[in-house]
Symmetry: D2
Subunit: 471 residues, 4 copies
């Protein structure tokens, strides 16, 4: 299961409706008529509020719906629908800043630009529309592709970035604060355009008369590089950031229980231990449990420590890990949050009972108050803390975007027949290539095998260096 609940980090050769995350079943959406009745099936990630570091546009704009506006960019092109084209300059600066932290995409532009490996590609995308996405789109464009884009989340669009993209000639259909009807309208406008048949997609939710199209697709999400960065390295930082921004809690001396010791749990535990917290771990898998022991964490059942801990963090991918029974026994001021998957881990629904009072004390922070005055501090209403309350480092997004771009190139240029109608893992060698493109950021110098060494190890000097299963 992907950690960031983006709706399917899959790139596909042709428009298709299949999703990496099979729990979502958007492909069953039949027709425009039935749309409203399906509204409750919108994925969590589509409605998660998304912490955008730079949102300058909240209050200054008028209240007219973008759907009711007629806008054109400076070249007279009007094939887009965004909040306000006048914010383009401001968005351009955000994109330029992002470019500096996405050196791998910039390198890809340089290396692959001459040959235009995506010439003729018609890509539709449905992702968060941010400065980082813009760098990806402009890279795909530089490689020869035509792009149309919609947002995967009704809150996450950076309006000024959308404006810069529209000004640059991209057909973008997205704004911050879309209604659910807007959401589907944008996807329709993005995909269904006269005389333009997409032949590649990135995560696009869309209608199709033909139903599920069976084409090759590549699961970008399970690449080693992405996994380690999204989970271990990213969470190591975002757990601290998310907790600080929401609660200003001091970590030193705090007792914390982390539920789950997979990559996400490992990242959270390492960070909190380093900050002077006393960390307990719960696990169901004895192998991960033994790793927790060897890393210096007491392995407990939740009920053994629930009365004494200051912070509870879920990282399991499981459901109902923190249930009402545990919430009832927490001490006053205990902070509860979710770093795992979707919003199932904490049984938030069980807190919606008459005897408990909810008090919104800050954005993303609720105090749930028991009759005796005890307060439990619930973050992001149990949704993903790192998505809701911290920012994802551009560097991590850079890895994802580079992997997506390479996967598109691979699929688009593969000899016919190499990829069947299936979902493929990124070839190990491309995974290694993505990593190598990011090493210059750290002024890191890779050693090359000598001929003799390569022969001894039975490896090609250019990799792949590890078996596919290696993590």
């Amino acid at each position: 299961p992907t950690h960031f609940a983006e709706p399917g980090l899959t790139v596909a050769l042709h428009v298709q409706i299949q999703f990496a995350d099979q729990k979502q079943e958007f492909n069953k959406r039949p027709s425009k008529i039935g749309r409203r009745s399906l509204s409750r099936s919108i994925s969590q990630s589509s409605t998660d509020s998304y912490s955008s570091a730079a949102s300058y546009t909240d209050s200054s704009d008028d209240e007219t719906s973008p759907r009711d506006k007629q806008q054109k960019n400076s070249k007279g092109n009007g094939d887009f629908c965004i909040k306000n084209i006048k914010q383009a300059d401001f968005g351009r600066r955000e994109i330029e800043i992002a470019e500096q932290e996405m050196p791998a995409l910039m390198a890809l532009r340089k290396r692959a630009q001459g040959e235009k490996p995506l010439a003729g590609a018609k890509v539709v995308g449905c992702t968060h529309i941010t400065a980082q996405t813009a760098v990806l789109m402009e890279t795909l464009s530089a490689l020869g592709a035509q792009c149309r884009w919609a947002a995967c989340n009704i809150y996450s669009t950076q309006n000024e970035v959308a404006a810069a993209l529209a000004e640059g000639g991209f057909s973008v259909f997205a704004w911050k604060g879309e209604s659910e009807d807007d959401f589907w309208w944008c996807i329709d406008r993005c995909v269904n355009v006269e005389g333009w048949q997409p032949n590649m997609r990135i995560n696009c939710i869309m209608l199709s008369k033909a139903g599920k199209l069976c084409v090759p697709a590549m699961n970008v999400n399970d690449s080693v590089t992405k996994q380690k960065f999204d989970n271990l390295y990213c969470c190591r930082e975002s757990i601290l950031d998310g907790l600080k921004r929401t609660t200003d809690v001091m970590f030193g001396g705090k007792q914390v229980v982390v539920c789950g010791y997979g990559e996400v749990g490992k990242g959270c535990c390492a960070a909190l231990k380093a900050m002077g917290s006393i960390v307990y771990v719960t696990e169901i898998d004895p192998i991960c449990a033994l790793q927790a022991c060897m890393d210096g964490f007491r392995l407990v059942k939740l009920n053994e420590v629930i009365r004494q801990v200051d912070i509870v963090i879920t990282c399991t991918g499981n459901k109902n890990v923190v249930v009402r029974e545990y919430l009832d026994r927490m001490k006053n001021g205990c902070i509860v949050c979710n770093m795992g998957h979707s919003n199932t881990e904490i049984d938030v629904a069980s807190l919606r009972t008459p005897e408990l009072t909810w008090e919104r004390v800050r954005s993303q922070v609720d105090h749930v108050i028991w009759p005796d005055g005890k307060r439990v501090v619930l973050l992001a209403e149990g949704r993903l803390l790192n998505l809701s309350c911290s920012t994802v480092p551009t560097f991590v997004l850079s890895i994802t975007a580079t992997t997506q771009a390479l996967a598109l190139i691979e699929l688009y240029n593969a000899p016919e027949g190499r990829y069947k109608q299936d979902v493929y893992l990124l070839p190990k060698k491309m995974d290694e290539y993505v990593a190598s493109l990011h090493l210059p950021t750290f002024d890191a110098h890779l050693t090359e095998l000598t001929d003799e060494q390569a022969k001894y190890l039975g490896l090609n000097k250019n990799g792949p260096f590890k078996p596919n299963y290696y993590r």
Copy 2:
């Protein structure tokens, strides 16, 4: 030198004008007439913008100056001047939340309340006016003191807290966004009141016909507990928080140079090392330098690494540590910030030259742009990062406030003659007492000496346990 640039963490037995931080010379302010001409002598801390986690009042209020309003609390008392008394309920909740993280003051209320050790004390205070300050004021009141208060900083007042204090009967004169003239007016109103002669003060800047009154005072700032918390433990967290909130930088793999390896530098280095940064240290003192080596940091001169580092952090207490010459040689995107003392460490003035462009990209974040396009990211214009861009944990404020309260009790109740007209360090035993009051927060259980052990060590069973010089 105190790390947080509060104007003098001294409590004094009688109104006086002396300051712990001798570089400030407010005591020379002669009269109301000369006030405006002295405006440039306002201390850094008085004008630092102060990151208050909860500021709900920015936009909703009217624009009338509080000085022009007539407000009364629900009991008809009008001896205060604040933004809006109607925010009292909201402020009360903030205070109640703060109380939960300041258990030592609450314990002090309980332990000392019966005897009212401050009965008869008339305290004037001049500090940041926040929920935490309110807990201190209400503790002093519970111990028998009468309190009047003004703000030490024109930006830092939490208006709703001031309202709650006014509603509770405290004479508070402060609001967020005071002008400099307002600032002095508030202090005047706080101190000069008919028929009420203050006999104790906390950090108060005020007029006196008698000039510098020579009374006993206690330097709260150099207590071991406060030092360690303000510097080592607090900075360990706030360096990460401050950098993340302003720049969203990913720490992993970043090269960082930390100038100075005192307590602040030690905290910054430990935190960044734990987050996967590669940290270099500069030092002038060979003993601290050797400690840096033993802690695993390469000790360099700044010019050896200035071209390669991603982040520069000053923690020296010195001036002109980062000068234009170094700024010229930094690489594109390098982040520069100050965790040390006041605003002297980075020579910001040297960046105010015509060929450099300044661009404010977020609050507290400037891009300084060289003619070739290189950008240096300057945080808080070189002022203290942790004061400007992160929040100080309530727990640390709790230690300060408890120490202040105990120092007032000690001074007020000492037999005549024990304290001469001088500045005293907090007695070791009281320092230990403050620490002991904070142990229950961590569910920490102290071991007691047996009679035999106390005799063996030559110690009193109740402490003090260490010599005064012990750090």
Copy 3:
């Protein structure tokens, strides 16, 4: 490639000659006549001196070869060949102490004893003969197996343990300080016994008229649990232990380069970083390289730092990583050692030239002296440091031994046809079972899935909890 160079951590259903480590080709050994001429093919591990924590027998014994002695145990049984049966009591105590640190095997005895799952099994083994091996052998015996054993290494036998085993009725053929001829004689005596046909083996090197017998075998070495413990967790401790015992070097402030950032390299780097060393990493694989960056290590080529480092550690599994060119450029006193695989990583042969002087300063420590007086400190002559100069924690050996015992039970009891003539990985579920047997050591409490959770995750409540490829 296995990290500890034991000759093949494979357990097999029937006597066979195949080895996990295919580079060894003992199976080609044709006959007793040709034995001496094959002497140089004896594996590294067979001649490595092995640091045995407790060797009490060095000087007290007579010089008679065990092959020339006639010994019987107290029950009159003489089917063994060891140093001195009189040391049995002393060895028994060593075994009892080891039992306390191998709770999983003891638990296995209890759980599986009733059913005797190895009844009828005839096991020959060829491993280090230590107290820990004895606990394994006595466990197999308790489960119903008959065992005969020889040593896999001419130095590593604990004579007193061999005595205790012989006294207990096991047919053991091993002593410390065997000659190469002794080594093969012992294996012959172990395997070729009238009227006893082995049907299972653990790592046994032996003669067979039929050549390579094709039977199912299980690769114990690549189980997750064993991998993590042998490599990451074990090396994290043994790198410090090995360096200290040989050189007494202080780690704080030392500059160290670690070649290779796989599991072994990760363990070494983490330990040395924690002890205050400044660590550089070299890598050929960009993915591991990026991990090193994110963990806070500078990624360099060896030639960039070779002049400045105090310690060089190889963990690559590659050959000629440290060649003469680098050795020539090291600074005076530089320590060089190998934590990787076999003895190929450091080109020790290149140091056997006339202008260099070798000086043995301690056991396992040579000073190689250049004409200008420069000394390089070479540990264990380039062989594995952790095998030669530190001890392997009993806990790690416990995991290996438990895995071996479980693999034997699985193979012996599997329905015919489940395992073909191939080498199998330990089933994930058994890997998890080994881990679970070791959790009580840490007083670790595993959480159980609820029915609802198991259903949600699509897992059996008893595992396996992860896919086979999960590491």
Copy 4:
């Protein structure tokens, strides 16, 4: 209290009998006649077995007492008494190796040699006689001093080093394995020599008709540099080394309680936490207790965790910290050791009762066995683990020796009257100088203050940089 129980790290201007550690009262020893009756007052450190890394001489030598031998060096000088002058070459190599790790003394030789600042000084010393001591002695000699030396410990002398010193013309009276009578005989021979009146001493235990001579002395032990290195940095490494060498215990996952959180405790806790142990701390001082909390350790009373921990480490300087009551409640296999001061912390005497069996399993390791079979593993019989079971890094000894040399120079050259008949702390500036002499070892580059900065800080550009009380 000094951490390493050396008998007084004081250097004195004139022969005197005063000791830094006042609990020892050797100065009361009246006459040769009374010597034997005073034998039990020999300090702990004089009889501690001392782990000498290189002892090549154990078995090869004859059994004749050195006192009965007539030996002369190659120049015909016989004013020494050692084991065997023939070992001089071997000892010389040990000294040369030590020189490489004591660069500060070598630098001192170079810097101060021209002026011979100790010309005329007659120094008697009584310390461990090791290669490191030899480097100190030869440095003092190079600076102009005449030296005579005896051992402070009956086990710690490296015979080959003593031989090299004797061959070099030093009057050394020491060998490994002295009897108590030998010990005092050596000191007599060292001090009482016709026509040679010592005027300086390092830690010398000696007879004096005049009783306690009152002369200036310098307490080398409390210098910042020495304190930090002996305690924090040294113990961080030696706790791991001492535990591994004696017990081969795996640290990962072990539960450990550390009694006392001073510098030694901090070092032990940091090391064990880094190795994956779960660490609990006990403290009597609330300030140190709060530090433990902030560093992420649970603060407990010993009785709360004594049943569950795997290792108990005392670092208090106190007595009877681990008493029989706690030993009775430890679990089977629990390891108990002392890193604190002298041998009072663990009540070993209480284990000498009939129902308990003692079993010596290795050098320095006893199993104490309860009637029910429970074993407690007692290390070094409760004496200092790091002195008994690990080696002290040469670098730490280098700091001590350099400080001693500088203190002698300071005392010897001070204008009359600067130092009264008292014990002085090393001046801060010299402490800083010792540190600066050790920086080149780490290739560490100190930053120099500019004139402007020095003025701003009110400091001399060459230091001292910190107040005397700064730690």
